[in-house]
Symmetry: C2
Amino acid sequence: MSLKHGILGLLNYGSMSGYELNSVFKESLSFFWSAQTSQIYRELETMEKNGWVENELVIQEGRPNKKLYSLTDEGKTEYHNWLSNSESDIENSMKIRSAFLMRVFFAGELSDEDAIKLIEDYLKECLKTAERLTLVEGVIDGFSTLTQNADKRSKYWKLTALYGEAYYTAEITWAKKAIEILRGEKDEDVNN
Amino acid sequence: MSLKHGILGLLNYGSMSGYELNSVFKESLSFFWSAQTSQIYRELETMEKNGWVENELVIQEGRPNKKLYSLTDEGKTEYHNWLSNSESDIENSMKIRSAFLMRVFFAGELSDEDAIKLIEDYLKECLKTAERLTLVEGVIDGFSTLTQNADKRSKYWKLTALYGEAYYTAEITWAKKAIEILRGEKDEDVNN
DNA sequence: TTAATCATGTAACACGTTACATGATTGC
DNA sequence: GCAATCATGTAACGTGTTACATGATTAA
């Protein structure tokens, strides 16, 4: 149920329309929880049925009308319960889900060259992503000027950025080592 | 579509019933791609409609009859295409999806103590999981004696285990550092 | 002889993805 | 004046999760 709680968290910063929510989501939470636009609109409807949010229709000129969503008291309660009752999601957050690793698992079916190329392609993407990540701290500083209580919040935002760095560093280290191992074994074969 | 391809990969080792597939899946692929029993049965049906697998009903005594699934030529083709056309899934494998990180992002709403506890709980789970992982190499060695061509395959299986070690090591390092940072700032506050 | 678990699945619902629709406004 | 994109969504389908059903066999 994390998309719902991500939305609650953002609406807790202030009321927003679905469109704005979507943009803010993509600039912040999408780094560790991606979601399509259509999904956000659907979740908003469900959350409204749950009584977690309510909306006010804002009539606009020259552009489509919008629904300004805000948290209800029930929504705030739900949000704070989710935040404090840690145990629930942690087990799920332990799980790795990677189609790439599945391919590595089956890479014995490929030639050694193709297997090495597979990991090299992954390494390249990781390097790219890691580089993009260095820009995130800047975004955080920019975003934090938009909200009150910024110091306390941005401290935690930065911890998630730090996580990203640690994560991709580990991916890169592993990929390099894997390639080394595979190349090493290949050369041994050649020498025997 | 990775569940389908995981199933193709396992059936490529030999024909199996849904039940056996499920067990083998849980012992091997579930480490990086979890799936419910019910999902595996459904995917098998879809894959049969796609012409990727076919099944033969085996009548049994004293226990339920079973459907022995095996790959068709089309299924083999699909499997090898998936294995070699790397690009497709790599972008998706870049994505992090973690409800835990979402909580960290919003942890500014919590007291410092509760925020630290959140990360400590995560750290504990990571340590547990990392420990369980050391058992995996043994499982791999055991499993590899069951199949032909074991050397080449188990080399890649071990790379995925190596990945797991690198991954959880990074998580643990990050979590410890995060706790240190949060504690450090707390103590500074006390001293000012 | 009762509880666990083996071996097979089905049904319903929640969540995620892809593709499309509408009309205004801005940039070239 | 034409293309891009802003701002709002809907519809259909694919994937993942939860809960349940059946009857045999094995272990305490």
